[in-house]
Symmetry: C2
Subunit: 461 residues, 2 copies
């Protein structure tokens, strides 16, 4: 489909135009392909370090004229092979677009370039009393978070990227620059192209500017933990929390394997049984009320005590298990790498889905802690294996397939927040049926040459 | 573009297939065209009363085969000519699809057919402790609300239709039925076709099933009112409310003309100065805290007293001015009809936009109360005029044009919640620039024959 000679032409023209901003060194190309295990690396032919929208526009136009694939790159923390270059082509590194362009305190919004990371943004905002809440774990670029429709631990209160972007600027496949949305909080004027680009994983265009919603930093942040005799009892407590409309900021589940790993790694003595971790945002009285409401719900489902505090140091100690979960998992199986995967189901099916998954893990003979953003019905498994163990890798692939299909069968989705990339393509039609044809029609009309991040999202024939 | 003979063929085939479900009587056709003033009526050739998705699918396929326009119809409360048939064709009345299919209490969602109205849904839900909050004023069908991306008074807390729909079923222009989204609270699996259909005004397909988010009915609902010396002081108070993160459920502005009209109509003695009306949802302690926070903000900006109550009867009395606003406006200029129009701007520009609009109203010699969903920066003008007065109608058209362009120039949108329909087409490109081309590409690829609600949204050449 793509010709090496034409890609070479594009690289030559880009070199002429951009000089040292373009690299073809193997080290740089390797760094700009998939680096988060499981999916093998596929290197681009060149990497362009863009500095502004104009660079992106000109580079994309050169690629368009030469039928050359274009892959946008943030910080490379995506998990499903989103930044691989299966057909070669040019990777555009967006980290040079790292400016906060405009903070609008009165409107609670900020205009940024896509290379700004969420931590850099919050550091920039620290004197304004405002913050951007979405937290996928990694210090990802906000452009990447938009492109994969990311979320994380506090989506239960603040929503996902789709709920927190007001407007975008994007470079289309032919190099044209368009703007979608506006700083108005709502609009009924025309198709919602903003939401179409969010989650499109670089297959329709490259995001070059983002207008994000901001929130006031809560007066008080309280944290709490509570152990439960079973995943089901923990999930039932969560369902009650949501039904009562308690505005929890985070509500996380650690399964017994994860708790055991955290006890070992962080020297904790948590009961080896499922654990819920909570965070409340509000006024002093507000968080106390939320915590008391949670306590009265929890006592219906567990005899373990609910502990909570609004003291920052004590809160961080309570949440230590969650913060260390990733490293605790890796340490649990020394020398292993973790394959992070996620699904999301209606919350009423969550306990059933987690427990079936738990049995699957046991029967498959794999080690896989489970951590869940349970307020949304979203959970992550991280099967651990020796990176050289090809047999175990096949077992894990089979596990991920069953997990994805289980979630879809329960009315859920094969990915709550990681995206499709290369890793979840085979489930797209199982989940969306003929709607995939509509997605492909949109892809074909906006990107008729198929140069934007080819080999992603859509099942490859 | 559309041929009368082919439309006649479609109607004949539909008559054969659907018998008495199809009407060609003028009274029925007239009722199914635009009826909310300003934009002249344009009647369809026939009206089909659909009973289920299969009916819609078959009817659309017959229309597709005959290149016949198809217009979906809810209850006809749209304001910008959305249901007119400028090219004739077949109107599909969706009121027969009026079933609540599934209530999922644990997941806080409900699956409905699009002909269910918001009041019927909340009536159905009354014993569950749950409700659907979005309230555009009219008792609109939820299918129509989805198609126009509606919102209303409590969007400041609960968001708009775009934020409250999890999944859709829709009939495409060739009669195929597709499903978008799922009951999972979030997903990163593929393009967001749900959000693409929301606000597409029937130009891409007909929505035949909707999965909506629900909320627990608040333990306590409190209402309050506060007069302000100026629109600016009221808006500044609102900006503070939003910045402090007070989760107001509604925060409405009535301008001095509207207050005067309400005093006359409802026998009130409100100070003739801008008025804010508030509603708080939460626990007894929670609403008291919100009200106290508002009071302490308000006293910075006004010497008028903030009155509030959680007693239902007293609350309704406080809010009487708002509930009667529409009829009060009409009574203010006897024999007149009101032309309702809306815009939305970043909240920091709201006072400026309202005051410029106020001057424009005075200079134009028209009478137009202003009511605003000010927490979102969204406000409505309702110029009043004798329906026979063609001169005044031109003056009002000029006023709406200046209003729309003023909002766009301030970084806002020509419509916050009414939609584009026929009335706001000329502002689409001013607001979205070349992004309109992308919208048109999507329209052309999904609806290549252009049969779905033709003559809407996009500027007509």
């Amino acid at each position: 489909m793509f010709k090496k000679s034409k890609i070479d032409n594009a690289v030559t023209q880009l070199k002429q135009r951009f000089g040292d901003q373009l690299s073809t060194s193997e080290a740089v190309r390797s760094h700009h392909s998939h680096t988060t295990t499981r999916i093998p690396q596929q290197l681009p032919d060149a990497v362009l370090f863009a500095k502004n929208t104009q660079d992106v526009s000109e580079a994309v136009r050169i690629c368009y004229e030469n039928d050359c694939p274009v892959i946008a790159f943030g910080i490379g923390s995506s998990l499903e092979g989103h930044v691989n270059a299966p057909h070669g082509g040019v990777c555009i590194d967006m980290n040079g677009l790292d400016q906060v362009l405009e903070v609008n305190n009165e409107d609670l919004d900020v205009v940024i370039q896509p290379g700004v990371t969420r931590e850099a943004l919050n550091e920039y905002l620290r004197d304004t009393g405002l913050f951007f809440p979405i937290d996928p774990g990694a210090n990802a670029s906000l452009g990447g978070m938009a492109a994969t429709r990311a979320s994380g631990t506090n989506a239960v209160r603040y929503g996902t990227m789709k709920d927190n972007i007001l407007a975008l600027e994007a470079v289309l496949p032919d190099g044209r620059v368009v703007r979608t949305g506006s700083r108005a909080k709502k609009s009924s004027a025309g198709y919602d192209l903003t939401r179409l680009l969010i989650g499109s994983e670089g297959t329709l265009g490259i995001i070059t500017e983002i207008t994000l919603k901001l929130y006031g930093i809560p007066e008080v942040i309280a944290g709490g933990t509570c152990s439960f005799p079973s995943v089901e009892s923990a999930c039932n407590a969560v369902i009650n929390v949501i039904q009562y409309g308690i505005p929890v900021a985070r509500i996380e589940l650690l399964d017994v394997v994860q708790v055991r790993a955290c006890n070992q790694y962080s020297g904790l003595d948590l009961p080896e049984t499922p654990l819920l971790l909570l965070e409340f945002h509000g006024s002093e009285a507000g968080v106390a009320e939320q915590a008391e409401m949670f306590a009265s719900i929890a006592e219906e489902y567990t005899e373990y005590e609910f502990q909570w505090t609004s003291d920052e140091a004590a809160r961080k100690k309570l949440w230590k298990a969650r913060h260390d979960a990733y490293y605790a998992s890796l340490a649990y199986s020394p020398g292993a790498v973790g394959v992070s995967t996620d699904v999301c189901v209606p919350i009423s099916r969550l306990a059933e889905c987690v427990e079936e998954t738990y049995r699957d893990i046991e029967e498959s003979g794999i080690i896989s802690p489970i951590v869940g953003h349970v307020g949304d019905g979203n959970f992550h498994c991280m099967p651990l294996s020796d990176p050289e163990d090809d047999e175990m890798r096949k077992v894990i692939d089979g596990f991920i397939k069953r997990l994805s299909e289980r979630a879809i069968a329960m009315g859920g989705t094969c990915t709550g927040e990681h995206g499709v990339g290369q890793g979840k393509q085979e489930y797209l039609r199982k989940e969306h049926g003929d709607a995939v044809d509509v997605m492909m029609m949109i892809k074909s009309t906006i990107d008729p040459k198929g140069i934007m991040n080819p080999g992603k999202i859509f099942p490859q024939n």
